[in-house]
């Protein structure tokens, strides 16, 4: 079979390289693109969905050659930790109508960042719901825009009705160090969640 498992031993040809994925979600204009851009070299990624795929839920439109696709752009960034270990960031499209993209993006994701703006906290509810339901470890990063009253982490956590333990971190999406810290919190939290689940299965 042409597929190679990534834990394959032997040749140092990149086949044993490891790629990790972190999603950046949140409401419209909350700073997703800014965050991905401040911590990585950002590039737009064009993806297109065929009518048939999403359209499974609606009418079948018939023959293969009549299928059309729609193009959706998302943010994409890579952070190279070392040769053979990279972190990939995907800024999910903010619009709810692209929900079908999230399913693919979240598959195998290490974790996620839900960006929030305290002036319109409700905009991040769908993202919070989404990751909670799928048990994908996420942190809520409150992007501190000027003019917004500052809140404490616990206030945000309560307002969002977050599960206990879900980290809330205040950040400035424009600031590289701040963005890095957000990612660190995701990785730490994902590690804790994973260990806990592992112990659950073993014990």
């Amino acid at each position: 079979m042409a597929y190679e498992p990534s834990d394959r031993t032997g040749a140092d040809d990149g086949a044993d390289a490891l790629a990790l994925k972190i999603l950046v979600a949140g409401g419209f204009g909350v700073g997703k693109t800014t965050l991905v851009g401040s911590v990585s070299e950002i590039r737009p990624l064009r993806t297109e969905e065929t009518l048939s795929r999403a359209g499974e839920l609606v009418d079948d439109t018939g023959g293969v050659d009549r299928k059309t696709t729609t193009t959706v752009a998302m943010d994409f960034g890579r952070i190279t930790i070392r040769a053979g270990l990279s972190l990939y960031l995907f800024g999910t499209p903010g619009q709810d109508r692209f929900w079908f993209l999230w399913d693919e993006l979240s598959q195998g994701a290490l974790g996620a960042v839900v960006l929030a703006d305290t002036r319109r906290l409700e905009d991040c509810f769908p993202a919070v719901d989404y990751f909670e339901h799928r048990k994908i470890p996420f942190v809520v990063a409150v992007n501190c825009f000027e003019g917004a009253r500052s809140y404490r982490e616990q206030e945000v956590s309560r307002a969002l009705d977050l599960d206990q333990g879900t980290p809330v971190v205040l950040c400035d999406a424009r600031d590289r160090d701040s963005g890095k810290e957000v990612l660190v919190r995701v990785v730490e939290y994902a590690g804790r969640m994973h260990t806990a689940r592992h112990l659950d299965t073993v014990g």
Binding site: Y3, R46, T47, T92
Partner: protein, 140 residues
Amino acid sequence: MNDTHGDGPGGPPAPDSRWYDAEAGPLVRPYAMTGGRTRPGPGGERFDLIALVVADDDPPNPDEEAVLGPEHRDLLALCRAETRSVAELSADADLPVGVVRVLLGDLLESGFLRVSRPVPPAQLPDARILREVIDGLRAL
């Protein structure tokens, strides 16, 4: 949290809801370069966005390469320069992800490439690797 906030992404769409609208971007015909095919890879397997693509070190003979289309060759050249994820290939070649998946499927099938599956989440994340990622991030 509960669902009183309405359907989030991934929530069940209302039966009559359209999944795209005018703002969703242009509706385009499938690309000629994939010959109208939209099912990527052998067996229609969809390559993950972060699946890593490596040029095979024992590729088919040059005759077979000569008949490849320009997009196939672009992708092959990129893979030969450096191991890349499907997402990067798409961004680097400036081709939509779906098109790249189909083309990679061809190249995989004819033996030019190998594709490594991302580690399934259940095997993620080795504590040592995560430590490395955290230290690496802080050192950026």
